[in-house]
């Protein structure tokens, strides 16, 4: 046996009364969560406090023997004595949360053609009729774009084909893919290919090609046939039937999980959240991405007919989320992809890699777009903005060196206006650690890239979504928490693929 030891009591290790220092935090009151205050830290830790507790906490009077004190201590909202260890852990958490910055843009979008066989009311990409010439990427442009791709420093690259309808120009898509694969034998990057397409034009030969190169396919499905076909008019009026058939064919060749779909929500959609979700379940999807219209391209002009306010969207979304949670309660495993992204930001220490919700902004820093005409843009939305007449976020052309694209005036502007931590209305927002800056959206909607938060739809939408999710977290229904947790675990990799599209 060992020596005799005198054990000291727990009180000997407790801090002296009220000798703590506050660490940086923000706070908010959440509608539907009366009497409690949400505090969030710079690195995304969060905690709900009672109103009295909150006042005691900020007043330096929190009872050091309380559980709340220990909770806030463990989450680094307060520190006692030497702060070195707490600050080291905060720094590590900050590095983790911002780790998407390490390698530069990972998403490289190739717009190989602007031609499309659809004429959707909300089309973001200013499409061209299928028979027109002059809207396909030339070989010279494609080769230069591939040079830029490999000049970018990231060891992990996603090459995404967009249009138009990329399958209209399948030969170019195939050439670009094969050239990248050949070049990568010496470059040794980790490359994932993806394509956003209706898939209607996909032949067996094309699908075999996509399987060979491990493509992730993303298509558009707006809901049941009557809704989808109303949103996506074709002369034959059978877009939905063709989409469903194409999804089945693609799944058969590439595998079930290689095909994802996202919705675009029009005014017509807003009354039918359950029908849209149920259609995804019926077709065997494990994820639905409920995506509001964005104010770009044709969508801005059609806004009066098909558009809606952030508040109308949020009412729709709340119903849809409730329905999805009910389905999960009944054993149907389906997630909402955007909630998965936001919850990953809230419930994990990791970023998602989702380029549209980052600070610093993902435009130019997480993604670049090579347009069919050789222009390089900071994002798909930057390209649409240019199509609508404002080339502010055009970085240059595919013939410019990577370093010059990254030093362009457009990048200067993105860096000056794309960091939420210093934007008015964002810098003191409790949801900042989970949100992002979107100067491209702001310029499109408000005519300048900083944006005015009180009237900003990006802000209203996200504030509403965070209110909704934090209300659910405050309620702490064990089933909901388990479902949310399953979305972030599964959702983290899905989110990388879940990109804005069509």
């Amino acid at each position: 046996m060992g020596e005799r030891v005198e054990f000291r009591p727990e009180s000997a290790y407790r801090p002296a009364a009220s000798s703590y220092t506050l660490l940086p935090f923000r706070f908010a009151r959440i509608p539907g969560v009366p009497g409690r205050v949400l505090v969030t830290s710079e690195v995304g830790e969060w905690h709900f406090l009672g109103g009295t507790e909150f006042r005691a906490f900020v007043g330096g009077a929190l009872d050091p023997t309380s559980d709340t004190y220990a909770d806030l201590h463990a989450k680094h909202f307060l520190v006692e004595g030497d702060p070195t260890t707490a600050i080291r852990l905060l720094a590590a958490k900050y590095r983790t949360r911002k780790s998407f910055l390490r390698d530069g843009p990972g998403l490289h979008v190739f717009v190989t053609t602007l031609r499309c066989d659809h004429s959707c009311t909300y089309c973001q990409v200013s499409r061209r009729p299928i028979s027109e010439s002059g809207f396909d990427m030339s070989e010279r442009t494609a080769l230069a774009a591939i040079d830029r791709l490999f000049e970018s420093p990231s060891p992990t690259l996603t090459v995404e084909f967009q249009g138009g309808e990329p399958l209209v120009g399948f030969d170019r898509l195939r050439h670009v893919t094969e050239a990248i694969v050949a070049r990568n034998r010496t470059e040794g990057r980790n490359i994932t290919f993806s394509m956003t397409s209706t898939l209607h034009l996909a032949t067996d030969e094309m699908l075999a090609f996509f399987r060979q190169h491990g493509f992730q396919l993303s298509t558009s499905l707006d809901g049941p046939a009557w809704l989808h076909d109303a949103n996506r008019p074709m002369p034959t009026r059978d877009s939905h039937r063709r989409t469903v058939a194409a999804i089945e064919r693609a799944r058969a060749v590439l595998g079930h999980d290689k095909v994802t779909a996202l919705t675009t929500l029009t005014r017509r959609s807003l009354d039918h959240p359950e029908a849209i979700v149920d259609e995804y379940v019926r077709l065997g999807f494990r994820s639905v991405f409920l995506r509001p219209l964005s104010p770009f391209g044709f969508a801005a002009r059609a806004a009066r007919r098909i558009g809606y306010s952030a508040e109308e969207f949020l009412r729709f979304y709340e119903r849809a989320l409730g329905h999805i949670l009910d389905l999960n309660r009944q054993g149907v495993g389906i997630d909402e992809a955007y909630a998965g992204i936001l919850l990953t930001h809230v419930l994990t220490p990791f970023p998602t890699g989702y380029a549209d919700l980052r600070s610093p902004t993902g435009a130019g820093l997480g993604a670049v777009v090579y347009n069919y005409d050789g222009a390089v843009y900071a994002s798909d939305e930057s390209r649409m903005l240019a199509e609508a007449g404002d080339p502010t976020f055009r970085l240059g052309t595919v013939h410019d060196r990577w370093a010059d694209l990254m030093r362009s005036p457009a990048m200067d502007l993105l860096l000056a206006t794309g960091i939420a931590e210093v934007l008015p209305g964002c810098s003191d927002c409790a949801f900042l650690p989970y949100c992002g800056a979107d100067p491209v959206f702001n310029l499109a909607r408000e005519g300048e890239p900083v944006g005015h938060r009180p009237t900003n739809d990006h802000c209203r939408k996200h504030t509403g979504l965070f209110h909704l999710l934090f209300r659910r977290l405050a309620e702490a229904d064990p089933h909901v928490l388990r479902t949310f947790l399953s979305w972030v675990t599964r959702g983290a990799s899905d989110a990388a693929h879940a990109r804005e599209a069509a």
């Binding site: 046996m1 060992g2 020596e3 030891v5 054990f7 000291r8 727990e10 000997a12 290790y13 407790r14 801090p15 830790e45 559980d67 220990a70 909770d71 201590h73 463990a74 989450k75 030497d82 070195t84 260890t85 080291r88 852990l89 590590a92 958490k93 983790t96 994990t348 220490p349 990791f350 947790l485 399953s486 972030v488 675990t489």
Partner: protein, 394 residues
């Protein structure tokens, strides 16, 4: 349960106390120096050619009785329990004390190097209370022991006491293990406090890729961890130590012992690990081993596992669900919620592992950890019961 020690008689002088026990055919393969090998002579085995063995330079024979000795070779015989030593084992023979100790047992579910009895913490529930005596002789013996282990060993524990108190001896031990045991992972139990000093973390660089550092952390807040280990400032040292090791590319396991003093923070602790050290390769939640200080402090430690089972299941599942491999050690299945069964491991070293009389009829005994041999009425959960086959199938 097979003990690690037994009485023995030694005839003839042994040059060294450490011996690798091998049957004749393996001994002759020459993987181990002959002068370090005791040739195992089974009771019904063939006669051995003493002259030849002597000329080859074997150290000794290990045999059943005095009559089985081989002329001219020292013999270890008349073991109190002959099953304790088997071919492949490494033994330490103390002729004066008439005792044989097994330092390495071939095929055991766990083998460890016991490096020191000294420690710089005084954990309330320590099952191996430290002693403040200079036992630096152990390192020299371990260097010798390492060269006698089976080279195809998957995993080897390193335990104490606190291994970092060896100073430069620990990096040297790691290097020797790398050389002698090229495919073995070392699993080193340490409180990690010494690694708060970057220089100490630098010194174990040869362990990268070969060592898992198993570091106990008992709370998400300093005061409670410091109280459990009875050292002011220990929490910050351990947390910094973990980060220093991780920054240098080391693999880390975090260990949490569940008892009345750690239970209040257990679920928050899981969240803390996920947020602050998501890089850890494994988290183990462990039931108490009723030995040493744990017995002294029984009344302030004891919680019936039946009562903490649901919280344990939540804490462990939350980490596992978020992608961190998580295990539950030393808690029998009958007192754990069914949800946590997939995380429960047969964690108790076989030499101190027993089952309860109630286990006789149990349908899941074969995959249950059972109990420490030292458990008794004061440590018996009221939930212990045989699981029926119908229940197990659910």
């Amino acid at each position: 349960m097979l003990p690690l020690h037994t009485r023995a008689t030694v005839t003839g002088g042994l040059a060294r106390p450490l011996l690798k026990v091998l049957d004749l055919s393996e001994a002759l393969r020459g993987r181990y120096p002959f002068d370090r090998v005791a040739v195992h002579r089974p009771p019904d085995g063939p006669d051995l050619d003493g002259t030849a063995l002597r000329e080859l330079g074997f150290a000794a024979v290990l045999c059943r009785g005095a009559e089985d000795r081989v002329d001219g070779l020292p013999a270890v015989h008349s073991l109190g329990n002959p099953d304790v030593v088997r071919p492949g084992d490494v033994i330490r023979v103390r002729p004066d004390a008439g005792q044989v100790s097994v330092l390495f047992r071939r095929g055991a579910n766990a083998n460890s190097l016991f490096v020191t009895e000294r420690c710089n913490s005084r954990c309330l529930m320590c099952s191996q209370p430290p002693r403040d005596e200079d036992d630096s002789w152990r390192v020299g013996e371990l260097f010798e022991l390492v060269s006698l282990l089976d080279a195809d060993l998957d995993q080897l524990g390193v335990t104490g006491g606190e291994p970092t108190l060896l100073g430069p001896g620990l990096p040297e031990l790691i290097r020797r293990c790398r050389t002698a045991l090229p495919i073995t992972t070392l699993h080193i139990l340490t409180n990690g406090r010494a690694f708060a000093t970057p220089r100490v973390a630098d010194a174990v660089r040869d362990g990268v890729g070969r060592v898992v550092w198993a570091v106990p952390l008992y709370a998400d807040v300093p005061f409670r961890h410091d109280f459990v280990v009875q050292v002011d400032g220990a929490f910050n040292e351990t947390v910094n130590g973990i980060h220093n090791l991780a920054e240098r590319g080391h693999a880390i396991e975090v260990r949490f012992v569940v008892h009345a003093q750690t239970l209040p923070r257990m679920e928050r602790f899981a969240e803390f690990v996920y947020r602050n050290m998501p890089f850890v390769s494994h988290v183990a939640f462990m039931g108490l081993e009723p030995m040493g200080f744990a017995k002294v402090n029984r009344d302030r430690l004891w919680v019936d596992p039946l009562d903490y089972g649901p919280a344990l299941a939540r804490a462990a599942s939350s980490l596992q669900g978020r992608g961190i491999a998580t295990s539950i050690y030393n808690v029998p299945l009958c007192v754990l919620p069914r949800q946590a069964w997939p995380l429960a491991r047969q964690s108790i070293s076989d030499w101190k592992n027993v089952y309860d009389p109630a286990c006789g009829e149990c349908a899941v005994r074969a995959r249950c950890c059972g109990f420490f041999a030292s458990y008794g009425a004061a440590w018996r959960s009221r939930g212990i019961q045989a699981i029926r086959i119908e229940e197990a199938a659910q």
